[in-house]
């Protein structure tokens, strides 16, 4: 058996190496991030001022739909799987993932799934235009013909995620180095273990709901059509039973990354490790019983409204515990502010703001006013952009020297951070205001009183987009060369990944380390 990688294209097609597959996942998600980002910029350009200027409403709806789908399934989820591939074996002292061939397969079906999804843009009738939540009957009886391709591509992406999750669980439960007990695992490993279980719990539900759509569209069933004895609201229940855990799937691994970075740059152990583990588990459990808070206005019985309101409010308790723990870790530390730390701190502040608006949205009577407005758009972008995107970015800067053996350019990293930070807040903060003032989401044109804040948001969006070009440039430069990184890279960071050379050799921990 060869000890190094194969040469040329074969290396990437046939690879079963966790580091190669991690790299593939990360580059793929980076590409999707730019594609989804361009769509966001089309949306923001159209919303720069009242009136229709750049795109027609039907295309606008395709853009909002594809932006959401690509960012969720193409950018955020594969990026976390890529980080898991790279880091989990190194963090637990394993030579590779437990199921390397399935690992290859679960990555390589992704490009095909997304090619199918993107191809709908060129079909007659256009791409899916019913929002990333694809509520029936807009997505069934009233959908463009391309909806069938959308359904199949969701099946493919779901299969990929389930395989990835199985692999991660198998790896973590079976391949830890001697002495690496569960409660000694780094939090990134813990949060991913819990995330993987969530994925296995809900991805089949997503597959189920799109299959029900397929039956309604092509085989004469009426799951979601009242005329045939079905119920459009059933769609929303099934979708959000997947959808709410899904948003936590996109944030739990982020908690793990932040819990690795903050202690390193505060030079102080993480505060409340075990409470962090329990809080993550509590959040994951609660995520399975709060789905209908996305549906407060569908006309549920009051008992349902009350249950989902109380359960949703409860989530803020374990989430609060996490924030308090990170702040306590920083408190009386000896802090420095390299790029990963800047992104991590911004994560805590902005994610907390997203958490606050989440708590506001949990209050059902107030939600009647917030629901489906730009306030919701502001809320979930505050949890997803600083939450998922900033944590992934922080993780990339943090581990890039380990992956490539080269230090990234710190100045450029800081420029990236400040541009992104300002751009993000300029884009999404004003959305709170227009939402409260009455602007519904998913509209291509709006009343005059919303013009000023929308203009600000559009300018912020382009700034944020420009910041990501700096990021791309910095990453490419670091891959090509640069100042050599030491084995430890940072000032005494904790974890097995820092005990191997930089760049990490193609095979690490062929003989397991001993963890005390």
């Amino acid at each position: 058996m060869a000890h190094g990688p194969q040469s040329g294209l074969k290396r990437w097609l046939y690879t079963t190496n966790h580091k190669d597959i991690g790299t593939l996942y990360l580059w793929f998600s980076f590409a999707m991030f730019f594609m989804g980002g361009c769509m966001a910029l089309i949306i923001r350009a159209e919303l720069f001022e009242p009136g229709l200027q750049i795109v027609k409403p039907e295309f606008f709806n395709q853009m909002t739909t594809m932006h959401g789908l690509i960012m969720v399934f193409g950018a955020v989820m594969p990026a976390f799987v890529g980080l898991a591939n790279w880091m989990i074996p190194m963090m637990i002292g394993a030579p590779d993932m437990a199921l390397p061939r399935m690992n290859n397969w679960s990555f390589w079906i992704l490009p095909f799934g997304f090619t199918m999804l993107a191809s709908t843009l060129f079909m007659e009738g256009g791409a899916p235009n019913f929002g990333w939540t694809f509520y029936a009957p807009l997505s069934t009886e009233y959908a463009p013909p391309s909806v069938t391709f959308f359904i199949f591509s969701i099946h493919i992406l779901g299969a990929s995620s389930i395989m990835g999750a199985i692999n991660i669980i198998a790896t973590i439960l079976n391949m830890r180095a001697p002495g690496m007990t569960l409660m000694k695992m780094p939090l990134f490993v813990w949060t991913w273990l819990i995330t993987a279980y969530l994925l296995i719990a809900v991805m089949p539900v997503l597959a189920g709901v799109v299959t029900m759509m397929l039956m309604d569209i092509h085989f004469g069933t009426s799951f979601f059509s009242a005329a045939g004895g079905g119920d459009p609201v059933l769609f929303q229940h099934v979708f959000w039973f997947f959808g709410h855990p899904e948003v936590y799937i996109m944030i739990l691994p982020a908690f793990g990354i932040i819990s690795a970075i903050i202690p390193t740059f505060a030079r102080k152990p993480l505060f409340g490790y075990s409470s962090m583990v329990y809080a993550t588990a509590a959040i994951a459990f609660l995520s399975l019983i709060v789905w209908a808070h996305h549906m407060f206005t569908v006309g549920m019985p009051i008992a349902g409204e009350l249950f989902f309101m109380y359960a949703t409010m409860l989530i803020s308790v374990p989430t609060g515990v996490k924030i308090f723990n990170w702040v306590s870790t920083m408190f009386r530390g000896s802090m420095t502010f390299e790029t990963p730390m800047l992104f991590a701190i911004a994560f805590i502040i902005l994610f907390a703001i997203g958490g606050f608006s989440g708590l506001m949205l949990a209050i059902a009577p107030a939600d009647f006013q917030y629901h489906d407005t730009y306030f919701v758009v502001a809320h979930f972008h505050y949890v997803l952009v600083p939450g998922a995107i900033f944590s992934i970015t922080a993780g990339v800067y943090y581990w890039l020297p380990k992956w490539t053996g080269n230090m990234y350019n710190e100045t450029m990293g800081k420029v990236h951070f400040w541009l992104a930070f300002i751009g993000l807040n300029l884009t999404f903060f004003p959305m709170h205001f227009v939402g409260l003032a009455g602007m519904p989401r998913r509209i291509p044109d709006y009343a005059l009183q919303f013009a000023d804040f929308n203009q600000m948001a559009s300018m912020g969006a382009f700034l944020f987009g420009a910041a990501q070009v700096v990021f791309l440039f910095n990453v490419v430069r670091t891959v090509m060369g640069g100042r050599k990184a030491t084995e430890q890279v940072w000032d005494n960071p904790q974890g097995l990944e820092w005990t191997v050379p930089s760049p990490a050799p193609y095979h690490t921990f062929s003989t397991p380390p001993v963890v005390r």
């Binding site: 009242p50 009233y142 009242a226 119920d231 609060g320 515990v321 009386r332 530390g333």
Partner: protein
Amino acid sequence: MLRGFDRLFALLAASLSAQFVLAEEQAVERWGVNMPKGVTEVAQTTYELHMLIFWICVAIGVLVFGVMFYSMWRHRKSKGYKAAQFHESTAVELVWTIIPTAILILMAIPASKTLYDIYDTDKADLDIMITGYQWKWKYDYIGSDVTFFSNLSTPRTQINNEQPKNPNYLLEVDEPLVVPIKKKIRFLITANDVIHAWWVPDLAVKKDAIPGFINESWTRIEEPGIYRGQCAELCGKDHGFMPIVVKAVPQDEYNAWLDGRVASAVKMRELTGKTFTFDELFAQGEKVYNNVCAACHQPNGKGVPGVFPAIAGSKIATGPLNNHLNIVIAGSQVNPAMQAFGEQLSEVDIAAVITYQRNAFGNEMGDTVQPVDILNFKNKQ
């Protein structure tokens, strides 16, 4: 320095107070930053809940971010600060679990009370059925004959930036929903095609309109006025173009309006027997077309390839009249986006719009359809 600023401000405020207040009000309207207080009791309670939870969040935020910024300022390596090594405290963990839980319980009490209030749709003085269509609203005043559609009245030319925009751009309709003040009005909300949501912020009413199901909501408006809202659930192409306008008036004004409505409905029925000239039908047909058909089939009749078929040169509009009558009156069997307009439009309007479609866009069929033809066609079915 600070005192100087204070004095300057006091001076400014005193001398310009009148203009200042006015300017500020305009600024707030232009830069609306908060939820409207609304004109119903429920809206006001909702607003108070919103502000309460907002200030709770601000307080927690100040505390947490305060500690964080303090340690970022003080506990940095560049200042030579040596890191402490503590990393656990069960007592502290318990404190910051229990206190937030207590705050949440306190918050849940008023929220639940308001929710019960919103759900109490009993003992209404007036029932109005609201039906969402792609992309307009229909209002039925239950117990009277009054029923009408409410369409966006902002002209296309303003949307396409060919004309300056009205102050109520995209928030104006041809026929507002007229309701009496100080009466409990129950809304029965449903939809004809996809899911819509009926939302008027000033009334704090937002309820999904779901095809095949009827949702209930209610309001009691305290002050006369015009209150504007929009569809709040993505419902297809023109989701952004189906506003809601509620006109709340005193009871006697409402009664007069209702009588006028009933009378004009009777007059409309009489018109069905009348024979119109081609020009009358063509002119009325153009109006109806632009209001009802143009959203999909486009103002130029060319449609959108692959999505909405063209009228210009179409097999139906240039083929046998019966097929044309059938698709307009009964809707399409294959494409649900083509609704059954027999229930939505008057016989006069259907006759007019079919006449228009068969003679506009270069179709030149030369036939005229009278309201009586529509009635006969309907009766045969």
